[in-house]
Amino acid sequence: MTETAGPDRVRSAEQIGLSAREAAATPPPHNEPAAGPDAPSNRNGPPRNATSWAKKVERLEVNPRDGVRGTNVAGRRLTGPVQGFGKMWQKSYRMKAGSQIEPEQAIATWKEHFPEFWPKGNRFAGALTGIKPGDVALLDLAIGGGVKLSTGVFVLYADAESFTLMTPQGHMFAG
């Protein structure tokens, strides 16, 4: 796996979306009429990817989960770009997975096994239903010297080809 330069140096579309595949993703087919400028009556209806987005929350609500602390993010607000990500607001990583794997397969596997992909000593506890929009996943992270850092992340967006996590106040990526 290779790390790509940050936003000051990367010009590709992958530079932003936390998911390189999402950059190239063709929106899923749908039967609804396009809500373009000539169809203003449809504009306030939900878009076809409405269920991929989390519902608006003012503060995070957290359900305790076995084996992970992380509930300290309960009641915290999400941090957006205005609040600052510093140089950590975006990182792109690329790896070759082979030509036989479709984006949907890769993301499905990633969603299903995401808790297993963390380094030893770290714990990611998502909802039992997997990575779904609006979920708050709890994290216990080993940061060295036997110290554990407990935090969490909010699932902002998830579809068949991508998912996006957003950090709350106090998260080490939250600037």
Partner: protein, 118 residues
């Protein structure tokens, strides 16, 4: 990567304000289109960019991320960003991601331009 299904046309309103009419699907794939529109709208005098989302058909989180990049670039040039024409759904997404704290949302072009004149 497939060509983005989007157009962005720039209209100048006076010397310091430019409106970008966005029509189509906003994903990370349309970054070249947006950045081209941004460069067209930024001629050194532009202090405020107004994004018209009335023609927005679809936006995913990659599109939100792309707007963050636009925001970063505009901030570096000390330019303000405003938006209008957002549907209720996407207005809520702006609020959820707290983009609305950096990109002021208006109900109409007139109010966006009046806000620009303040």
């Amino acid at each position: 990567m497939s060509a983005p299904a989007i157009t962005m046309d720039v209209r100048r309103i006076g010397d310091e304000v430019a409106v970008v009419d966005i029509k189509g699907e906003v994903t990370a794939a349309c970054e070249p289109v947006l950045m081209s529109a941004y460069e067209s709208a930024s001629d050194g005098r532009t202090s405020r960019l107004v994004l018209n989302f009335a023609g927005l058909e679809y936006m995913n989180s990659g599109g939100i991320g792309m707007l963050v990049t636009l925001l970063v670039r505009a901030n570096r040039q000390r330019q303000q960003l405003a938006a209008y024409g957002l549907s209720d759904h996407y207005r809520e997404i702006f609020e959820l991601t707290r983009l609305d704290e950096a990109i002021t949302i208006y109900d109409s072009e007139e109010s966006a331009l009046n806000g620009a004149a303040r």
